[in-house]
Amino acid sequence: MKFKLFRAPEGRNGGPADPTDVPRMGGQVLPAADAAPQPERNAAETSLTPAPRPSAGAGGPVGATKICARDVSVFYGDKQALFDVSLDIPDKTVTALIGPSGCGKSTFLRTMNRMNDTIPGARVTGRIEIDGEDINAKSVDPVLLRARVGMVFQKPNPFPKSIYENVAYGPRIHGLATSKGELDDIVQASLKRAGLWEEVADRLHSPGTGLSGGQQQRLVIARAIAVEPEVILMDEPCSALDPIATARIEELIDELRERYCIVIVTHSMAQAARVSQRTAFFHLGRLVETGDTEEIFTNPRERRTLDYITGRFG
């Protein structure tokens, strides 16, 4: 383990985060989420009723806050899948959402590009802002939102078209290229950035479904970045891949971090530790704890986080 074991006692005891963290909290954190919850959490924990209201943005964000979620709840019909999640996600950073199956991390991920809209009976309450703009506002078109917030799914899902067509699809429907040459450039640049160009340059017009699983996943990433999104959501992008393909994707995620705000849902604690700078731990539909990845893995504040990351449940 590469983590330094610092600040262990305070965190284990559920004490407040190091006060020196506060000035580093990304600047744009809403005061309500910042100031209010901390004493409240202390009260909750001392009374032994675990009702975690983690302070959003505690820890060391790398970029400015890109996505700001406040009291987000998601209902599928009568069933509530997500309970009042408040979380700040910084830009140019990989944020990992971890937690056992069914904990709501994928649901939360899907609220950020409004993919839950496509599920009949799904309802989202609360507020999610990207660059200060409420994405659930009536004036925001989900189609445009999804051009800004790309998504990569668990199972590689290239379209049953050629490699070229897969990558060109987004720029084409959004009218991002005015000429064939421009489109060619976008396709080439996206494939290069996704680290796939070398492998497919000579067969751009063969079917994308003919690639290996890892290549398909990189193709899907190329497809997502071809529209120049600001945020890339990844829903367990490596769970269907072998370790070598996984390593390549992880490298790629690390490279992409310089340009994008990346949110990744993962079941693999090791992966979260390897690729992310920030980690949020979900359990039973609630956000239990969030912070710098190093801190979460070495010095979690919550008992449940510790139990989960040490493999005691999940």
């Binding site: 999804r146 049953p160 699809y169 959004h174 079917p207």
Partner: protein, 428 residues
């Protein structure tokens, strides 16, 4: 140690006994499967064999070729159609056979009965085209009558008592002598495929009905496929799930099971009595069949849309494709093989449908070939029905032949379905 192996041995024996039983069950099941297939194939072969056996004779026919002296005293150059060519040819044939007619001309009349009425038209057309042939001897070729044809095909037997067959002993003797004299030749019955219906079996063909059926299917396809696919796409991809759409779905499923004759009644009331569209026309037939095909197409399209992996939909939506773009650029193209198959199978069903056609008047006798969508025409299945009910025996073999043509039409359509499926099929 030995105890352990004993227990192991008993366990293995028990497993082995069970294994034997399991294999026996598998063998039994395979045998049932083979039996089921054998029975099905047997019935199919029986059906096809019977039809082919009954119908193959309709594919050839007999023609008489004889020299005819165009007697200027009998042939009217100005109006050849008015000439009784049959009598002329009959008399000359009798003379050639050395038969002396009686005063009433009964022999000539019997001889005329061996020729098809087509003879008159062949001769008249020849004279109209070349009036100079009057006064000369020409070689005329014309089909024999249906009864003479049946005799030569061996379907009317000399051994049948004379009063029970349609040819007299005398006529049979003449036919035998003409045949021996090389005047009668058998050849492929092209008329069956180039002519419309006729009351004379030897002149009746299926082309009119084939064109009628094709026109009808064209109308059906143009109406039912776009409407059905559109309805299915809307219901599956766009419509909210509520009580109304549930009700619609249940009713579509019910409509698929409504007997086709009901659709005929609906068509009669709606298209003919209310909209006053021409009855027995391919337009009305096609509309009725479209109503009938709609539920099937909707159901087939919906199920093939359902079968498209949701990951493709999600991929498109997550790329910022609109709902419509997702459906028309991804979901529907992937569902296309299933849609095509469903559409073509429902077209094939529509092709063979007879009951609704009876109600909209398509069972009437329509000679000649259709030229438009709004004139009365026949259709293949109703032609089969009409011919089967005809009293002339020669129509029996033609009924079987028409069934074979209908089956061939269907095989072509189903083959098209397979080809289209292959073409549109894509892996994902």
């Amino acid at each position: 140690m030995t105890e352990a192996t004993q227990i192991d041995g008993a366990r293995v024996n028990r497993l082995r006994a069970g294994l034997k039983r399991r294999y026996a069950r598998e063998r039994r099941f395979r045998a049932y499967g083979l039996l089921a297939i054998a029975v099905a194939v047997g019935f199919l072969l029986l059906l096809l064999g019977r039809i082919v056996e009954q119908g193959h004779t309709a594919f050839y026919t007999h023609t008489m070729t004889a020299p005819v002296y165009m007697d200027p005293a009998r042939v009217d150059r100005a109006y050849p159609q008015g000439t009784n060519f049959e009598q002329l040819v009959a008399e000359q044939q009798l003379r050639r056979l050395g038969v002396v007619d009686d005063a009433q001309g009964t022999k000539a009349s019997a001889m005329r009965g061996l020729f098809s009425s087509e003879l008159k038209f062949v001769a008249a057309e020849l004279i109209t085209r070349q009036p100079g042939l009057v006064g000369q001897t020409v070689t005329l070729s014309a089909p024999l009558s249906d009864d003479a044809d049946l005799y030569l095909k061996g379907e009317i037997s000399k051994d049948t008592p004379a009063e029970q067959r349609r040819l007299s002993d005398e006529q049979i003797a003449w036919l035998d002598r003409m045949d021996a004299g090389g005047q009668i030749a058998a050849h492929f019955n092209t008329g069956l495929f180039t002519k419309g219906d006729s009351t004379e079996p030897e002149l009746a063909g299926v082309l009119g009905a084939v064109i009628g059926s094709a026109l009808m299917l064209l109308v059906t396809a143009l109406i039912a496929i776009p409407l059905g696919v559109g309805a299915a796409v809307y219901l599956e991809e766009f419509a909210p799930r509520n009580r109304l759409t549930d009700l619609i779905e249940v009713n579509i499923n019910n409509l698929a099971a409504v007997p086709s004759i009901i659709y005929g009644l609906l068509g009669l009331a709606l298209f003919i009595n209310w909209m006053h569209l021409p009855r027995a026309s391919p337009l009305v037939g096609g509309l009725v069949l479209a109503l009938m095909a709609l539920p099937t197409i909707i159901i087939a399209t919906r199920s093939s849309l359902k079968a498209v992996p949701p990951s493709i939909r999600e991929a498109a939506l997550a790329m910022g494709a609109s709902k419509t773009q997702t459906v028309f650029q991804h979901t529907l193209p992937l569902a296309m093989p299933g849609v095509m198959t469903g559409a073509i199978i429902s077209m094939a069903h529509a092709l063979g449908e007879t009951a609704p056609l009876l109600l909209i008047g398509m069972v009437s006798f329509v000679p000649g070939l259709p030229h438009s969508l709004v004139e009365p025409t026949g259709a293949l299945p109703s032609l089969v029905y009409i011919w089967e009910n005809a009293s002339e025996r020669a129509f029996h073999e033609r009924t079987a032949a028409a069934i074979l043509v209908l089956l061939a039409f269907m095989i072509v359509m189903n083959a098209a379905a397979i080809v289209l499926r292959r073409r549109f099929e894509r892996r994902w």
